[in-house]
Symmetry: C2
């Protein structure tokens, strides 16, 4: 792997460039982004040079699509004629079924392997890029067939993922989208709904009457709709289902505020929260 093209040099794309460098990658890193972003990315050392997509794609061994989901879908649609045979195209979209399907339809001259790094920050942009963003984080790969992981370019990409400290985790795209509808998308919407409900029913000067609990539970509510619009649009059915399950659980809790049934719910939720923290 001599040349990497990072398409969309924001928080994730920029962090990938910095992480590759920190892990010892000595080849070229080409950035494809707006002029302002490219300048910022060059300044922090996330990329070596900028190019337009056709030029970058025609020179790269690895094309790393780190755009918003809608833009990834669009790039996949136009990318194929520019790819060199033997290249690997991967992406970082946080929903996978639609992207994998679009790639299967569009990418013919090179290999596609879907990805989703479970890493992020509240703030976006290459200014927030961090060479350690992926360290210790799960990095999901969603091959359409298992053997796609074992091609030479895929093996080399997986090796670089390990070198930047990510923990690769192989999953079917559909299973991925179902799981994240609970572990990520539901968590987001529960926080957004909490923030919106509190905003509607509690006056501004009454907000002093809140503790660290509301603070923690509304951190996700700081997320930008711009980021979530594409996620909600590309995983609607699974999110609808997760929300229905959540609403049903809240209804059950509401009807059992004074019964011992709640003890069971607290125990179940506490066990999960402990597990997420590495306890048992």
């Amino acid at each position: 792997m001599d040349t990497v093209a990072i398409v969309g040099v924001g928080l994730i794309g920029g962090s990938f460039g910095l992480a590759l460098r920190k892990a010892g990658f000595g080849g070229r890193i080409i950035g494809v982004s707006s002029e302002a972003t490219v300048q910022a990315a060059l300044a922090v050392g996330a990329i070596d040079q900028a190019a337009a997509l056709p030029d970058a794609a025609s020179r790269a061994d690895l094309i790393y699509l780190a755009q918003p989901i809608g833009r990834i879908l669009d790039t996949l649609h136009h990318l194929d004629p520019h790819l060199r045979p033997g290249a690997l195209v991967t992406d970082v979209g946080s929903t996978k079924e639609m992207i994998v399907a679009q790639a299967a339809n569009s990418i013919r001259r090179a290999q596609f392997l879907g990805g989703h790094p479970m890493a992020g920050k509240e703030r976006r942009g290459v200014g927030e890029a961090d060479a350690d963003l992926f360290a210790g984080r799960t990095y999901i790969l969603t091959p359409a067939e298992p053997h796609e992981l074992d091609t030479p370019p895929a093996q080399e990409f997986r090796e670089w993922l390990r070198r930047i400290g990510a923990k690769p985790f192989v999953l079917d795209a559909g299973a991925h989208d179902r799981i994240v509808s609970y572990t990520s998308h539901l968590a987001q919407l529960s926080s957004t709904a909490l923030g919106a409900t509190v905003a509607e029913h509690v006056a501004e000067d009454e907000l002093a009457i809140s503790g660290p609990g509301l603070h923690d539970s509304t951190r996700l509510a700081l997320s930008s709709y711009d980021l979530w619009r594409d996620i909600l649009a590309t995983n609607t059915a699974a999110i609808d289902r997760a929300l229905s399950d959540y609403i049903q659980k809240l209804e059950f809790i509401r009807q059992n505020l004074r019964t011992r049934e709640l003890q069971q719910e607290f125990a179940r939720a506490g066990k999960l929260a402990g597990r997420l923290r590495g306890a048992e």
Copy 2:
């Protein structure tokens, strides 16, 4: 104020003792708790000596009820015969209407002033006690009538609250219970419901597929049911209402996953989350 009796020397009661000492209180601090707790409280310096409730109450100028809500209600029921005239009884219960009503019925020989420090930790017990627990935190006071704040013992108590760094905030008990049903109780139940829903629909080995968002949003789910049973039982109507509003909001979100209505909800929730972080 020469003698303080802390009834229930756990995290809050123990922290109050340590905070008084740190702020320069030179009088006596008597603890009323189980033998094991009393020993632990003496060891960390949260109290000077232990006594049974009748003895402690008959000697104290301030009786600080820092038990769980159900125990506070019970203590109020039995406390009056032991009180000395001129004393002030206050409590830390996180719901206020039932406690204030019980005190109005039971406390006749001394003054009662309800309180609720908006401070806490995940872990309980005097071993977690912290002289700075109240520093910078809102400390709600719920007088039945405004003039109750201006009696000499109430003025002296408020002065000590300021010395330990708490920010007193005066509120009607009913308004308090309505507000915390959104800012505290709903936040707790949204987290418990999220944890329980994820636990039911995501397999253990799939939990690797989660990011920092789920981690934050399930921190409250670590809370013990033992603590919440009394809260849910003494603020049921307000919590029922807050849960209904939340469920309605989630239903609206579910029906608008692909419409621009969500942009408004994200904006509203983000503004609230920003405000909680002092951004407005």
